[in-house]
Structures are given as C-alpha cells and as structure tokens.
C-alpha cells in the first residue's frame, strides 16, 4: 500500500464514522457537501477534528471552510503531509 492509498483509506473511514448512515455504495470522492443530508457545520467540524487526530496535523480555519468533498479533505491532508 502506498502512502496515498493509506491516506485514502483513512479518510474514507473518517467519512463512515462521521456519517454513520452513509452506505458503502454511496461514498464517492467527488460527492459534495450539498449532496449529503447530514453534512452540517457540526459534521464539518467532526471531519476536520478526525483528520487532524489521525494524521497529526492542524488545519487553518480557511482550509477547514474550503473542504466540501472527501477529495478536498484528501488534497488538504496530502498538502500537510508533503
């Protein structure tokens, strides 16, 4: 498994933890915040907190606000790990 694969797996799991009703088939890297019924500002905070804990990084407020899909979170995490 490459580092990127590992990051992807972790982020995918974060999404399943935060959105407990999310079906495995409904997960998509491109699926946007507006297409999730439960992605409100608290869920956004939970996603960021999980990512910070799992990758031992700290996101700025601006970075946090910009995240609107799993792909956005992946890119932000990769930028911090690079």
């Amino acid at each position: 498994m490459t580092n990127e694969d590992e990051s992807k797996e972790i982020i995918k799991n974060i999404f399943f933890e935060v959105f407990s009703n999310l079906d495995k088939n409904d997960f998509s890297w491109e699926k946007e915040q507006k297409d999730y019924e439960n992605w409100d500002s608290f869920a956004q905070l939970n996603l960021i907190t999980f990512a910070e804990a799992k990758f031992n990084i700290s996101l700025t407020l601006e970075e946090s606000i910009e995240i609107k899909s799993a792909n956005d979170l992946l890119k932000t995490v990769e930028r911090h790990l690079a």
Partner: protein
C-alpha cells in the same frame, strides 16, 4: 389564542395561499389545516396519552405532525434526530412519554437502541391512514416540551404554553414587522426554539415559509433567496459568517431584496455584523437574546445608525430584565434574570431546576450588563455550560462518557474559543499507566456515544488536571 388558532386565522384570511414549501412540495393554509385535523383524528390509538414524542428533520410532514398532536390536545415532546441513545432514554424517562412518532429512517435507528421501550409510529403511516371517526379533542394549556442542557448532567424539560407562544409571536411580529407579504426562508431545525418561533410567526401572519433541511448548504440557501423571492432569512451566526466567504458582489446580488435577516444571540462576530450592514441595501440584520425557557427576551436591529454591534439589544415589549450584582446596578456586570409572559412558570418534573425560578424571575445562568440607553451586552455563562454554535453542552456529560473508555484515568472537558462556533469542546485527558489509547480512538468512541455537536474539537494528553483540595476542577486554570 392558541397555536391552532394562528392557523385557523390564516385559513380564514388566506386559505388558498401557499403556507409551506419544501423542495418541490407545496401546501396551502387550507390544505395544511385539513391535514392537521386528519392527523389529530388518526392519533385515536394514543387517546389516553398526554405527551407524544416527535423526531423528524424539517419537512411538511413534521409540521403537520407537530400541529396535529397539539390540535388533539396533547403535548409534543420535540427531539432532535441526532439524539444519542442515552439522552433519548433520559428524556423519555423524565417526560414519561411512551410513544414516539418519527420517519422510517429514524424508526430503523431507534429500533437498534436496546434501552428504548417506547412504541414507535411511522409519521407517514399516521398521515395516510383512513379514519372517518370524528373525535372531539380537549384543549391543553401546554403546546410543546423541549429538553435543554442544565447545570448538572441531567437535561431540563422546558414546557411551553400556548400563552407563551402567543406572547412571543406577537412580540416578534411587532418588533420585526413580519407580515403576510413576507416569504420566509428557514434553514434551521424545527426542534429548536429559534426555528419554532419562525414557524409560529409565519402561521400567525400568513406568510409563506420555505423550509430547508441543511443550514450548511450555503449554495442552496443563496439560490433559494432568488428562487422563492425571499424577504426574510433566519440563520445562525456561523452560517452568516461563512456566507461572507463568497464574492461580495455575488452576496449583494443575492441579498438585494432581503428586508430582514434574523440571527440569534450566540456570539456573532462584530465583523460579520458590520459587513452585513453594508450588504443589506433594503433591510437590516437583527438578533435576539433568549433561552428556550424565555424566548426572544430582547431584540437588536443593527441599523446603520446604531454602532452597538456587540449588543443583543433592548428588552422585548413587556419583558423585564435585571442584572443582579453586589453593586445592585444594571450598568455593572452581573447575573441576568428575566421576567415576563415569555418565561416558563416551572420546569417539567424537575424540582432542582425550579430553584432557578423565583417570584417569576428566571435566573438564566448568563452574565451581562446594560449600557445607559438600555442595550444589553452579554458576557458569558456564570456556570460551566459550553455553548457550541448555540447548542448548550455540559462538561459533566462529556466527562462521564469519556471516563467509560478503558485506558483513561481522568478527563476534563471545557470550552475553547472558536471563530465560527463561538466555542467548541476541548478535552484534557490523563491516560492510565501503559495505556496506548490515541486521540482518534477517543473520537471514535465519542461519535458512537454523543451527538455530533458534543464531539471535542481538540484533545490534549496531560499529566495532571488542576483541582482544589475538595477534588473540584479549577476550571479557570484550564487551557
């Protein structure tokens, strides 16, 4: 005048007008009233019950069920769809509710809660049941019950009467000028006092209410402003602050026809207020201060000539507020007390909490002061409650949950400043000797056992927690 009279009045005056819009669904005042009556009749199996719990996201079905239960002379116990099993158990026990009405998705979720013994009814089944019985209903002094966090870990039941609703709604209409020519956008949950107040106002004046499910979908909020020719928007400060990240020109265009944005008293950044004062060419941003126990106790309209961007405004008509301090001076910082017809007489089955109400004065737990012209400024909470984006969280509840995790010796939860939410929760954790627990494991446990607004945003592992000789945490030393 009770809440159902609000609807009847609008049926008489604007029966064919659209009352509620939800996505592509619309319902007129007349149709809404018919559905409400039908729902009440279909509750005949629950005729003996005084309280019925209702769990649902924003929808027309929710509003029919809410009004239907009230119309049948019962009390609606409103519950957030995000509720945890332990909290649901506590609320049902305290309220003595034995029946829950919710949608199919929630029914599936609650069915997995082993501790919940209540009978669960599907909202749609009740809606579409055929029942020709005509039942005569009793009237009830009370309309709904909401549980709010207390200073202890036990949530407090706040029971709201029809007369409180009437008093508060008339104040909202009087101060903020709502009328039947408004179209109101509501992206706030209807299981909370803020959202409910907006619904009551629309029913009372006969305006059209556009319901959204998700306050975080900013694009949907902005598009809805145009699509439905919205004149008023209700939004929490966090939503307004995030909207400011869009291009200024775009925001000004979207808000060009808005006459009012109403927000609530969770610390709204001064910068957000100033920017919205510029954006709103034909209207104003307004806020209010209130608790579920004392809804809309002040109002503040941030007009261009008033530069008190950090105030929550003046007392609502016929509401009194006093500041209790050593100096006996309203202009000095002290505890905020409220008195008026918007204030509860007592909590629901909670003798301890009732000690906060004395001679009709409610001790709010908030601190603040007035300026010389009678504008109220909030300072914080006199107790330990953490206010996460308007949701009140008791540290004790979080600490008790975390202490159940193996490998943790001690923990303290407290509020830290957050630019968007006002406050979020931080944990300082002492690990047991040889424990290899990490932050992600703690968060996973929290996700399974707490509502999402109670999930900590920061966790530190520490060697000690400052405590007094009596073992009480010295909270002022936490960071």
């Amino acid at each position: 005048m009770n809440l159902i009279d609000f609807l009847r009045k609008s049926v008489e005056n604007y029966g064919d007008k659209v009352a509620i819009i939800e996505n592509d669904k619309k319902i007129t005042f007349y149709q809404l009233h018919e559905e409400v009556k039908k729902f009440s009749n279909n509750l005949d199996v629950l005729n003996q019950e005084e309280i019925i719990s209702l769990i649902s996201e924003n929808s027309i079905s929710f509003i029919i069920a809410y009004l239907g239960i009230i119309n049948s002379g019962k009390i609606v116990h409103l519950i957030s769809p995000d509720i945890s099993e332990i909290n649901l158990f506590t609320q049902l026990k305290s309220s003595k509710s034995k029946n829950i009405i919710c949608n199919q998705l929630m029914k599936n979720k609650i069915s997995n809660f082993n501790s919940i013994k209540a009978t669960i009814f599907d909202i749609e089944e009740i809606l579409f049941k055929k029942n020709n019985k005509k039942i005569k209903f009793d009237t009830n002094e009370h309309a709904y019950l909401i549980y709010t966090s207390g200073t202890t870990s036990e949530p407090k039941g706040v029971i709201i009467s029809h007369s409180m609703i009437e008093f508060t709604t008339k104040n909202i209409v009087k101060v903020l000028d709502y009328s039947n020519s408004d179209t109101d956008l509501l992206p706030l949950p209807l299981n909370h006092s803020f959202g409910l107040g907006c619904l009551h106002t629309s029913l009372y004046v006969g305006s059209t209410l556009v319901l959204l499910k998700n306050a975080s979908n900013l694009e949907e909020i902005l598009e809805s402003l145009k699509k439905y020719k919205i004149t008023t928007l209700a939004a929490i400060p966090a939503t307004l602050t995030k909207i400011l990240n869009f291009e200024n020109e775009k925001i000004e265009d979207y808000f060009s026809q808005i006459r009012l944005i109403i927000t609530n008293s969770t610390a709204i950044p001064k910068k957000t207020v100033i920017q919205f004062k510029e954006i709103l060419k034909k209207g104003n941003l307004a806020t209010y201060y209130g608790l579920t126990e004392a809804s809309r106790s002040t109002f503040m309209i941030f007009d261009k000539n008033n530069h008190r961007e950090e105030s929550v405004g003046k007392c609502s008509p016929n509401v009194e507020i006093k500041i209790v301090n050593k100096e006996k001076n309203n202009l000095k910082l002290g505890d905020i007390y409220i008195k008026g017809e918007n204030v509860i007489k007592k909590y629901w089955n909670n003798i301890e909490a009732n000690k906060n109400i004395f001679e009709n004065w409610l001790k709010t737990g908030d601190t603040g002061y007035f300026d010389e012209e009678g504008y109220l400024f909030l300072n914080g909470r006199s107790d330990e409650i953490i206010n996460v984006g308007g949701e009140k969280v008791t540290p004790n509840e979080i600490e008790q949950t975390i202490k159940n995790i193996p490998g943790i010796d001690d923990v303290v939860a407290f509020g830290i400043k957050h630019e968007i939410f006002g406050q979020t929760i931080k944990l300082n954790v002492i690990k047991s000797k040889n424990s290899d627990i990490d932050k992600a494991q703690i968060l996973s446990y929290c996700m399974k056992n707490l509502e999402k607004f109670k999930i900590p945003s920061k966790i530190d592992f520490v060697k000690n927690i400052p405590k007094t000789d009596y073992g009480k945490v010295k909270r002022f030393m936490l960071k």
